[in-house]
């Protein structure tokens, strides 16, 4: 009952007596209390200082300050050096920085830095000292670390030994939620190696030498390998989007569009320093992060409507040199930062300033240049025209940072850099505009890297837009695709031309000038896929609704050579043409024997599945697979055979092939026998089932007193009735007309 005015009690009256302190707000306090401890984040503890007296203290502090200021902001009065009872310092000091980031930098950069000959600085975060060094956390007695007994690891390259002895290659299929690895068995159903549900969340990727299969999850990246497909490594980079391996499989770059946020309770692998970073470079052998980087913000670009274009993040952002000793990142327009492995320190502590630099590309192999004895890594870069300075393409040698060659170019709208796989050539595809900026033309500037002085050869001015370019791997020929129509998303695929180029025949060991070999017009092709061993190339139309041609070419056709090509080092022959509707991807197997083409459900929904062709373009297999996302051949490490051994094998190929052909024939025969046997069994089973069923039904009919054929009886009755109804016979006539011959005569 609510208190009414008549019967008010005392308690109801004295509202003023209400005691604020009685209210329990501890829960709110806990929630909103400012956490003061966090202030300690800016403190570091410096250990390993010399013991000094009060008089010497000032000098030491000043000396120390010089070092401390190299990483952050601090002052003399922010250094506190406690003195012991004996009037001497206790060889440590507390230092406060102006921010937590600076304190973190101090720990990273000043720890283990020698102060003088006898003393080495040890720098720790105050919070770490508190966290790890608190009483009870450290045993007073030293216990040696336990060394785990050596455990035999699985053989990570076991996949190279095909159990069937046929040297088959493996590929991974990711479809629906299933990831499976299979042996390619040419015409037959691929033989499964391993198959797992929900193995990955985003995609799968092989490491460059095929050792590991990578699965990508929201929590990070995992590497799998060995005969049991066990987990080899984990790299917990949360929300990772893309990954890239170093060419020697020793390092891994992971990238996430979301900056890393280290939770308060810490992260199993990453530290507070990594907070806010997007890239992490990992050491695959140890599984530990080496260094992390934040994204470089691209200058904001506006499109025609003045709307901000979404930022583009070039991938790979970190590019590896061929020997994986260096990794470099472009800061577009300003510089290239080259980092040295394994410590990931910036080469010579500075980024290489190149004004206006647009793009760079490492040589894919260690270049062997004429009369240069020290083999250094090489990268090329280009800069656009700035003011009155011409555009420039440069080759820089690392670590000497020497410019090996540079080339000035005019009227450049864009340039693309294409290395040949042995780093013997570099082709720079230059899109040029006329002075009025109306017409476009493309030139190909080819740097002969191996020759003395790196001569540059210009190949043809091409009027049309070049939409694709590809060098022959390990060779010196290339293919370009050009179009006269503007590039862009159009409903009808643009008409394109495919042009082949090769060097002229030259005397001695030299390579002649590049000459146009042949152009094929009126195509829709837009992609070039060279065999990894060279010689063969597939020209394809991919990502296209209307056409999906695959043309298989041989550039060293062993047939008759046209007279016009007699001075050229190629004999082009179209071997076969295939059509794979809706094809989105094409990939050669590492041996160059097979080509897989597939239609991925990531790119289009129709007729997902894959085809396998041999190098001649003959289709071996086709398998429609719902929700197929990826098909990737497992790469192989380079061969262990020497050049001479390879040559011997090639010479005796006929003998080897005889053995293999016999094996193939035997296998086909036995497979045929197995198929026939299987069919015979199926047919027998079916007939047996029919016999049993028929007998059962007949029995049941008998029991139920039904006629054996239910319809026969009905029809007999019906025909009798009909016979009664109309006794007169009807003659049904049907007139057929057939024209045997037709002649037309014109009478004058």
């Amino acid at each position: 009952m609510a208190p009414s005015f008549e019967n008010l009690r005392d308690e109801d009256l004295d509202e003023d007596d209400f005691d604020v302190d009685d209210v329990d707000i501890s829960d709110l306090k806990e929630k909103y209390e400012v956490q003061l401890e966090q202030g300690y984040d800016t403190f570091v503890v410096i250990d390993g200082l010399p013991k000094v007296t009060e008089e010497q203290k000032g000098k030491l502090v000043k000396f120390l300050l010089k070092k401390l200021k190299t990483v952050g902001n601090t002052r003399e009065d922010l250094i506190y050096m406690p003195m012991g009872d004996d009037g001497k310092s206790m060889s440590f000091a507390f230092v406060e920085y102006s921010s937590a980031a600076e304190a973190a930098a101090a720990v990273r950069q000043l720890d283990l830095v020698p102060l003088d000959k006898k003393h080495t600085l040890r720098v720790n975060k105050m919070t770490d000292v508190d966290r790890y060094g608190r009483e009870g956390r450290i045993d007073d007695e030293y216990t040696p670390p336990k060394i785990e007994p050596f455990q035999e690891q699985e053989h990570l390259r076991s996949f190279l030994a095909d159990p069937s002895g046929r040297g088959r290659d493996q590929f991974v299929l990711y479809r629906g939620e299933t990831v499976g690895v299979y042996w390619n068995s040419e015409k037959d159903q691929p033989e499964p190696v391993v198959e797992r549900q929900h193995w990955t969340e985003a995609f799968v990727q092989w490491s460059p030498l095929g050792t590991y299969l990578t699965s990508v999850h929201a929590q990070g990246v995992q590497l799998w390998g060995g005969p049991s497909w066990s987990r080899q490594r984990r790299f917990p980079h949360p929300f990772v989007n893309l990954i890239a391996f170093a060419p020697n499989e020793r390092y891994l770059v992971t990238w996430s569009s979301r900056p890393i946020a280290i939770p308060e309770e810490g992260h199993p692998a990453l530290s507070l320093d990594d907070d806010g970073k997007n890239y992490v470079i990992w050491d695959i052998d140890t599984g530990k992060p080496i260094r992390s980087f934040a994204q470089i913000d691209q200058p904001v670009q506006l499109d025609e409507q003045g709307v901000k274009k979404p930022q583009k993040f070039p991938w790979p952002a970190f590019k590896w040199s061929a020997d994986a000793k260096y990794v470099a990142r472009l800061n577009q327009g300003n510089s290239i930062s080259v980092y040295e492995l394994p410590k990931m320190n910036l080469l010579d502590k500075t980024a290489i300033k190149i004004e206006g630099v647009m793009d760079f590309e490492w040589a894919p192999a260690t270049p062997q240049r004429d009369s240069i004895k020290t083999y250094e890594q090489l990268f090329c870069f280009w800069t656009p025209e700035i003011g009155s300075n011409p555009a420039k393409v440069g080759l820089m040698s690392i670590p000497s940072k020497e410019i090996v060659r540079s080339l000035n170019l005019f009227s450049v709208t864009d340039a693309k850099l294409h290395w040949q796989s042995d780093a013997a050539y570099l082709c720079v595809k230059v899109d040029r505009h006329s002075k009025s900026k109306k017409s476009q033309a493309t030139t190909l500037e080819i740097f002969r890297v191996k020759e003395k002085g790196v001569p540059v050869e210009v190949v043809d001015t091409i009027k049309d837009t070049v939409i694709n370019f590809a060098w022959e791997p390990k060779g010196d020929r290339f293919v370009i695709i050009t179009t006269t129509e503007p590039v862009g998303p159009t409903a009808v695929a643009p008409k394109t031309s495919v042009a082949f180029f090769c060097p002229e025949k030259a005397k001695g060991n030299t390579i002649g000038n590049f000459k146009h070999l042949r152009t094929l017009d009126k195509k829709n092709s837009n992609a070039i896929f060279w065999s990894p061993k060279g010689r063969f190339v597939v020209i394809a139309t991919i990502h296209n609704q209307q056409s999906s041609d695959l043309d298989f070419f041989d550039l060293d056709f062993e047939g008759e050579k046209p007279e016009s090509d007699k001075d050229l080092t190629a004999n082009l022959q179209l071997m076969n043409t295939a059509d794979h509707y809706g094809v989105t991807d094409v990939e050669w197997d590492p041996s160059g024997r097979f080509v897989a083409t597939w239609a991925s459900s990531w790119k289009q929904q129709m007729e997902n599945g894959y085809h396998v062709y041999d190098f001649k373009g003959e289709q071996l297999r086709e398998e429609p697979l719902e929700k197929l996302k990826q098909l990737l051949w497992r790469p192989r490490p380079p061969t262990l055979l020497s050049k001479e051994e390879q040559k011997t094998i090639r010479k005796n190929l006929r003998e080897y092939s005889r053995v293999f052909e016999q094996e193939d024939a035997d296998r086909v025969n036995s497979a045929d026998v197995a198929v026939v046997e299987q069919r015979r069994r199926i047919l027998e089973e079916w007939n047996a089932w029919r016999a049993v069923t028929e007998e059962e039904v007949a029995e049941e009919r008998d029991i139920m007193g039904l006629p054996m054929d239910p319809v026969e009886e009905l029809i007999r009755i019906k025909t009798e009735q009909l016979a009664l109804d109309d006794t007169e016979e009807k003659v049904i006539e049907e007139i057929m007309e057939e024209v045997l011959e037709e002649t037309e005569e014109i009478v004058n």
């Binding site: 609704q545 509707y581 129709m606 007729e607 429609p624 026939v676 069919r679 015979r680 199926i682 047919l683 079916w686 007939n687 089932w689 069923t693 028929e694 059962e696 039904v697 049941e700 009919r701 139920m704 039904l706 239910p710 319809v711 009905l714 029809i715 009755i717 019906k718 049907e734």
Partner: protein, 337 residues
């Protein structure tokens, strides 16, 4: 195999049925009449008028005397084949999606649609194969499908079971006398409806066609899946051929899912599979819309397909078809001879 093109319908075909002797073809479409055709030359025998909505289904008794049809006008009608007269009309609360006579045509079942608060059901009617006789008004049996609605149904051998295919991809076996559910098995992908069931000649096994791109051969007695035929397109219909051990599947991307009109893309082809070995043998093109229904001539001489394009294509098999044998089949034949 040159087909005869029957252009008598103005809208999409829904079902095609051969009579027992294989000389007549009955076809229904979303336009409101049933057509009867001579199978050998494609001449039209006549049409049956009366339905007020799309006609979903048709069946003919073994003596080719009466015809049953089910329609979106919520009725099952019985017709005199010879005169085209409507003999009887049964009314239901919802559309009728499938009708079928049992083996001696004493009973007729109908599958009614789930709509407007009515659950889908399978009804059984008594019929007399006599154009003079008075047909019974009352339903003998009603099976209500409360789990997932039945899309198609049929009678097994001896009229012992009623087999139904459901929208959720399962099949059920009911006791044909009591209507009790005996078994229910999910045989197709979940929630991919079964859209057709057709019987073998002796009704001991049947073939299902599903939107999950497969057709399955199932035994009527224990609902065991005997064979599976995998296609690369959603199926609308499947049939078993007589004389030769084949099955014919029909389907194609539904009109609303086709982004291009190319006949190649839509996969508007009748596909032949070997009934026992499950291999695809060949395809017959021709329609320029999905195949809604395929039917095999009970005498084994041909087949007919009806498409979304409104055409019925009647094919007579030629010599190559009869000669086609697997090595093991020939072996067996020689042994028996």
């Amino acid at each position: 195999m040159r087909p005869v093109l029957l252009a008598g319908h103005e809208r999409a075909l829904t079902q095609i049925k051969y009579n027992y002797d294989g000389d007549l073809i009955f076809s229904t479409a979303k336009d409101q009449h049933i057509c009867a055709w001579f199978a050998h030359n494609g001449e039209r025998l006549g049409t049956y008028h009366g339905h007020q909505g799309a006609i979903w289904t048709v069946d003919v008794d073994p003596t080719s005397t009466i015809l049953a049809s089910g329609s979106a006008d919520n009725t099952i009608r019985l017709w005199d084949i010879k005169t085209g007269k409507c003999l009887k009309t049964w009314e239901f609360p919802t559309a009728v999606k499938r009708v079928e006579f049992n083996e001696d045509a004493t009973k007729l079942l109908g599958v009614t649609e789930k709509r407007m608060g009515h659950l889908g059901s399978i009804v059984v009617l008594d019929v007399k194969v006599d154009v003079e006789a008075e047909q019974n008004d009352e339903k003998v049996l009603t099976i209500v499908c409360d789990e997932s609605k039945a899309t198609v149904a049929g009678w097994s051998y001896l009229s012992k079971y009623i087999i139904a295919g459901h929208e959720d991809g399962s099949i059920s076996q009911y006791d044909a006398k009591t209507g009790d559910l005996l078994y229910n098995f999910s045989i197709h992908e979940l929630n991919q409806p079964i859209v057709d069931i057709q019987w073998s000649k002796d009704r001991t096994y049947f073939i299902t066609a599903s939107k999950d791109k497969t057709a399955k051969l199932v035994s009527a007695k224990d609902l065991e899946v005997l064979k599976t035929y995998v296609a690369d397109t959603p199926l609308n219909s499947a049939t078993i051929t007589n004389k030769k051990d084949f099955v014919i599947l029909g389907g194609g991307q539904a009109a609303m899912d086709v982004t291009r009109t190319s006949a190649r893309q839509g996969k508007f082809e009748a596909r032949f599979y070997h009934k026992i070995f499950e291999d695809e043998i060949g395809r017959v093109r021709g329609h320029f819309g999905p195949l809604n229904t395929v039917a095999a001539d009970p005498t084994g001489k041909g087949y007919a397909s009806g498409g979304e394009d409104g055409y019925v294509r009647v094919h007579q098999f030629d010599k190559g078809y009869y000669d086609f044998l697997y090595e093991v089949e020939r072996e067996r034949q020689n042994k028996q001879a």
